[in-house]
Symmetry: C2
Subunit: 339 residues, 2 copies
DNA sequence: TTGTATGCGTTATCAC
DNA sequence: GTGATAACGCATACAA
């Protein structure tokens, strides 16, 4: 049988109030009382019941982390850092996967489910502007958006400057002498902010270089998995005038694209340069290693946790936008010397 | 303000008992009653409070999943499947990372923390035999071990036959004509079951082929990350008589080894063949694609969830050992034609 | 079939 | 500074 507060109180011959005080670190407890209680606690191996505590206080100590798929490396790396950052401030994290399902997303977003379990939620990508605006008002739980920008100060969020990041990636390819630069990752069917912003940055960089926008060079990717990057790259390479560089909106897409180039009998970076976004560990060991836009995920994670705890503390505070730094990392996949 | 059971009862002019019956799907409720209650529930947008329910019933509906690091691809893929399988039977999953910390592991294992939050725990690798035996008895929460075998029927667990899997992988290399076969992943400092079993299978296969055990060919790896595989492979290749094949105890180690071979100016599979274990998606797109021992992770996940729910239902049932099937997948990294 | 009342383990309000 | 007790929201034993 597991000991309760009352058991401890009985054994220490004090009231439950005193035991509770000791347990929660209340100051005004006489030393001898405290000692007696702590002895009883140790004797009985008492542990506070977090569920009862939650019912009473209304706080669960749990944050929700909503991602499309936890086995997408970037989300896994993000989750790792978030769990770590959350633990540092006394929170645990429960991961929910939306699996690209809009219905499930809405459910998690509006608390339609039983996520009264969460004190707050960290929501990562794949939400359309409409959905977010729509639930405005009905929302009650502290929410922080990850990787989505430009919601008119309506939500807390932490993200990189996607337009600039895409611009920088494209500019890096241009600096390497590439002129037929394709992009993989647009999502024309959806109204997701991130891909739209990356497309904008890509186009801006091309325009700045005086290069035309070739419509066939802008390839959609429904999901951001390796297979999607592979398929899109195969299509690009089959064009009459194939690109000499590809900007992928995620490293995972880039891993697929890499493989596609080789399967087409071409070389990276000599024939086609490739750059991604995210800086996942996989890209540091691939052959060739993958140039990418690095995101400082630990920073994003700690900021996200700081944001959500701040909002839990003050639900009415104005929304805060955190822009995380990014940085182009030139690795083998865009090397130019061997050209 | 959020509606409670009592609010609904008041509005529907019935007792809380009746509302509770309706909510929990109790059968014997008259249709008109049910209708009235459901109307009130809809009006008030009532949702049962899971915390209160838990306090009352003792069930949280949450399973713990303990892994070393969630951003190790295999664990991420496993987590994905487990979350999915758990959701199918009404459970949510909370992930804890041990980060290879024995202390943290013990804490999670013995419930020293506040994991009274869990109805059961799925514990993945990195537990030594001693730790497991030691906590025998003090343990109270339903526990299922993933990937650990041979605990004398003391614990439920689901795993592949590690000895056989390692044997098969090694045999595959032998069948390709390799004779100087190294292995990466032993953990001599620890008493972990999995690496020991894989080493045993590796050695058995060599003996069966009449090959000597070369001590320098058995390389340790403290963690199973890419960098560890990379470092170990570099050492192997620097030997006076380097191996012509490497069996890595995980795909991630293999990804590091792959890169190391190339950095040493050699080719895979011509100069060195490489095979891993896990069948992570990364290995299907790498260059060359990675031969591996595939684990049927969805099967493992569903079995694990089934096991833990069974134990929750009957804590005194005898322990069950599930052996998941495995299968060698020959891909480019062990191809022999180009030899 | 439905209503009433109790308790799950904690924190917090009120007295002392 | 400490003790008794109500309340958090729900499920259920017992009554009706």
């Amino acid at each position: 049988m597991v000991a309760t507060l009352r058991d401890v109180a009985t054994r220490a011959k004090v009231s439950v109030r005193t035991v509770s005080n000791v347990v929660s670190g209340y100051e005004h407890v006489s030393p001898q009382m405290r000692a007696r209680v702590e002895k009883a606690i140790a004797d009985l191996d008492y542990r506070p019941n977090p569920v009862a505590r939650t019912l009473r206080t209304g706080r669960t100590g749990v944050l929700g982390l909503v991602v499309p798929e936890i086995d997408v490396p970037y989300f896994a790396e993000l989750a790792r850092e978030i769990i770590h950052a959350a633990a540092a401030v006394g929170y645990r994290v429960m991961i929910d996967q939306t699996g690209h399902d809009h219905e499930r997303e809405r459910e998690l977003l509006t608390g339609g489910d039983r996520n009264m379990l969460f004190d707050g939620v960290l929501f990562s990508p794949l939400v359309t502007r409409e959905e977010l605006l729509e639930m405005q008002g009905s929302r009650t739980m502290p929410l922080v958006l990850l990787g989505e920008h430009d919601f008119d100060g309506r939500y807390d969020h932490v993200a990189i400057d996607n337009v600039q990041a895409a611009h920088d990636a494209t500019a890096h390819l241009l600096a390497g002498g590439r002129r037929r630069i394709a992009a993989i990752g647009a999502q024309p069917q959806e109204n997701y902010a991130t891909p739209q912003q990356r497309t904008a940055g890509y186009q801006r960089a091309l325009e700045a270089a005086g290069l035309p926008l070739v419509e066939e060079y802008l390839r959609p990717a429904v999901h951001y998995r390796r297979a999607d990057g592979y398929a899109a790259a195969r299509e690009l390479l089959a064009l009459p005038e194939p690109p000499d560089a590809i900007f992928c909106y995620s490293d995972l897409l880039a891993m697929g694209a890499l493989r596609a180039v080789f399967d087409a009998g071409l070389r990276v970076p000599q024939d086609v340069a490739i750059i991604g976004v995210d800086d996942i560990e996989e890209g540091r060991f691939s052959r060739p290693s993958l140039s990418t836009v690095s995101l400082d995920t630990p920073f994003i994670a700690s900021q996200a946790v700081a944001r959500v705890t701040a909002r839990i503390a003050d639900p009415d505070a104005p929304a805060v936008e955190i822009t995380a730094p990014h940085q182009v990392l030139a690795r083998e996949s865009t090397a130019t010397s061997a050209k």
